[in-house]
Every structure is written in C-alpha cells, then in structure tokens.
Amino acid sequence: MLKVQEIRELIKLVDQSNLDEFVYEVDDCKIKMKKNQAGVVTVSSQPAVAPVVVEAPKPQAGAPAAPAAVQQDAPKEEAAPEPIVNENLHQVTSPMVGTFYASPSPDQDAYVKVGDKVSNDSIVCIVEAMKLFNEIEAEVSGEIVEILVKDGQLVEYGQPLFLVKLQ
C-alpha cells in the first residue's frame, strides 16, 4: 500500500522524467499518471466504479476518508461547461460588468465569508451597474473557500468572484 507521501514522490519523479504515462499496479490498487492532460493523477481502487480519489487508496472501501484533496468527480454532464479550475472547486462568476458589493450596504455584514456553507440560492454578493442591482446566487452547494475580489471593486463579465468547494 502506498502512502500519500510516496505518491507525491512518484508524481515528482514522473514529472521530472520523460515519461508520458506511468502505471503502477499491485493487488487491487492501481495508480495511473498521464502528463500533458488536465487530470494529472488518477488513483483508483478496483472495487470503486468511477470516482477518482487523490489519496492513499483504501482498497476495501469506496468511501473517501475526506482529507483536504478529496475528489468526488463523478462524471456529471452538467458540470462540463462550468469553468472549473480545480475540479471540485466551483467558481462563482460575474454575469455582467459592474461594482462588486460584499454586503447589502456598507454598514452591514458581508453576505458570506470564507468558511461559510452556501446552497444553490444563497446570495453571495451584489454586482451593480448604473443602479441596476444584481444579487448573485451561489448556484451550487458547498463551502466558500476564497473570495477573489474586494468590496467596491469593478468586476468584468465572467470574472471569478468566489471559489466554492462543492459538497
């Protein structure tokens, strides 16, 4: 059984090598690495069907133990067009050019802060232009892990505003 540290070491070695692909198989554990592709590392245990887990695989169970980098990348069709950077992180983007407001008014608390749980219809901020106020909803369920813009900042169309770790 490989430890996380060992997998990291392997990635580093493969990364520095001229190898394009690397497969390591022992018992019911299989590690496959491919370079020049979005999903660099895939580790899967045989019993598990599709889910890809970046973690020391637990051969007997498909349920991840939930460390920092748990991947729940079940192939969801609607997820494909979303601008996903880190696969389990969702970007909330601005639907228009305007001013980003973190709170309903300057003397009120921000709609969300890092660590807050949000659901699809949670309001995360307002984007305003020419006195048209657009309350932006998270549109996913998860946890706010980063706020990418400052209160009062001008944001562009499509600019990422928040990173949400999907539930």
Partner: protein, 326 residues
C-alpha cells in the same frame, strides 16, 4: 351644525376655485373661530382632500381625494403591457419587496405594484427614501426583456427618459437626468429609480424597476437637511399634480420606449437620454467605494457607461457612483 359649517367651507372654496382663502376670512364667513376653521381643514385632509396652506395667504383646496388605486390608474390608461395588472397597497414596507415576490410567481410582464405610502422605501446602498402618505408615486414595474443580461443596466437609463417625458407631459416642467438615472428639477432631486434583477446564471427572469417620484409634497414636508437637495413636482410647478395621471403617463412613455429599445437597441434611447442629461460637458466628481474621481463628464458609451476625463486626460469608465456636479 358641524355639517353646515363644513358645507359653507366647501362652498367658499368652490366659489373661489384656485384662490387662497385666509383663516380669518373663512372664520368670518362661516361664523366660527380661526381654530375651528383649522380643525375643519384638518378634517378635510383626513378625508383625502389636498390642501395647501401658505403663510399670509391662507388655504387652498388643490384637489378632492386623490388616490392611486388600481381603478384610478386604470381609468383612461391606454397601454397594452405596462399596468395591465396593478397591485395597489395603501401602505407597504417597500413596493420592491412585493414586486420581487410577484416576479418569482410569474406574473405577466408589465405588472405594477403601487402604494400610497411606503414606510421602508430604500435607495442605493439601502439608503432610506422618504415616502410620505398620499404625496408621491411609489411603484415597482416588472419587465421580462429577452436581452442579454449584461445589457440590463441600460433599462435604468431608459426608465429615467420615460419619467422625464411623463413629468413633461403632466406638468410642462423640464426635468434633467443626472447619470445614471436621478431626475432633477432646478438641481434638486425629484425622482429616484432603483432597479433589481432576478436572474439565473446568464438568463434574465425579471427586471424590477422601482420608481419614486416626489409629487405633491410641500416644502414643509421635508426635513431641513433634505430641503436643499429634494423637491417635488408641486413645489416646482406651484400647483397640485394628479398622481394617477402621472402614473399613466409614465406607463405610456415607458411602454413606447421599451418597444423601441427591444426593436432598435439602446442607441435611440441613448440619444434621448443625452438630450435630457445635465452633467455632460461639466466638471463632476464621481464618488465610489474605491475613492473619488474628479474630471469632465464626456458622455456615455453605447452601453450607458459614464465617461469621465480626469485632469491628466485619462478617460475613466464609470459603472457605479454618486455623481456630484461642479
């Protein structure tokens, strides 16, 4: 006895239509004290009569009960979309909040929420908006345009043009627009417009346009700190303005401009907006959360964005700000 006095009082005002009658004159005419006259005047006010009281001139009835109920507005309305469904409330927290709820309930496009009094009215950044009973037009209009979401802010400029035209139709006053959509008469604010969007991702569901027009407030209705910056149509015109007629005019103008916009885009609206704009070519200060910018207002872009040229000749595009002229 009371009713005879009341009758005499009303007869006097009817006979001297449009004139001011002093408290002493009325007291002598109907044979009671000035205090009793004042009491009757107050009673009339409670019944919905609009009275003006001017020092050294006296009282004047400007209008019998003036209401903005659905019936009052609908009578004589010639639009086909806007105002076809009217939700009237005597007192509301905010017409925007009700319109928001209706927006989610898929009411027809053009549905309007109107109130005689708004106790929780708000403006930009949730600033309170003074909305006393029976004096103004407080309403929210729901539109559902099939336009790309980033274009939606243009509707706020379009609404300002519609209200300026409607005020002109009803009062012959010539208001101006301060970017993006404040309406001023003689440099004082008479109308505020605040628009909110209901959207899912890139898809507009409803645009909720909140309009507050100061109509029949008298100067004394405003707290001292507002008197230098706010005004009403009645103060500027010097006479009472019928609110239901004004609302009808706003609906008519808005419907026409909205159809033009959907067909031809923002350009014809932009030209109209510029013809009413007060700040273009002038020195302005744009106050934003991230600081102030001072320079010359060059005009607006084809999207309605304000262009400001600073002293170094750099042109800034302003999307959100409070504009101060001069």
């Amino acid at each position: 006895m009371q009713s005879t006095l009341r009758k005499k009082l009303l007869d006097a005002f009817t006979e001297h239509e449009g004139e001011y009658l002093s408290g002493q004159y009325l007291a002598d005419l109907i044979g009671c004290s000035r205090t009793a006259v004042w009491k009757h005047i107050e009673d009339l006010r409670h019944e919905g009569f609009e009275l003006e009281a001017i020092r050294r001139k006296g009282y004047r009835i400007v209008k019998a009960p003036d209401l903005v109920t659905a019936n009052e507005i609908r009578l004589g309305l010639k639009t086909s979309i806007i105002g076809q469904e009217i939700h009237y409330h005597e007192t509301v927290d905010s017409t925007q909040k009700i319109a928001h709820r209706l927006g989610f309930e898929n009411v027809p496009e053009g549905t309007v929420v109107v109130a005689d009094e708004q106790v929780g009215g708000r403006g930009r950044m949730n600033r309170p908006w003074h909305s006393a009973k029976g004096t103004g037009v407080w309403m929210s209009i729901i539109l559902r345009p099939s336009i790309p979401l980033p274009k939606a802010p243009q509707l706020t400029l379009l609404t300002a043009v519609a209200v300026v035209q409607a005020i002109g139709d009803c009062t012959e006053l010539e208001p101006h627009i301060k970017w993006p959509n404040d309406i001023l008469i003689n440099g004082k604010k008479v109308t505020g417009i605040l628009t909110e969007l209901q959207a899912e991702a890139d898809q507009i569901h409803s645009v909720i346009i909140g309009i507050g027009i100061n109509v029949n407030q008298q100067k004394s209705d405003y707290p001292p700190e507002l008197q230098s910056i706010a005004t009403s149509l009645a103060i500027e015109k010097g006479e009472f303005v019928n609110r239901a007629e004004l609302i009808q005019a706003v609906f008519t103008r808005l419907e026409k401009l909205y159809a033009l916009y959907l067909e031809k885009g923002f350009l014809p609206i932009k030209l109209l907006w510029e013809s009413y704009a007060i700040s273009i070519g002038k020195k302005i200060t744009a106050r934003t959360l991230s600081g102030n910018l001072t320079g010359k207002a060059l005009g607006i872009t084809d999207d309605g964005v304000l262009m400001l040229e600073d002293d170094q000749g750099t042109i800034h595009q302003i999307y959100s700000a409070d504009i101060e002229i001069g």
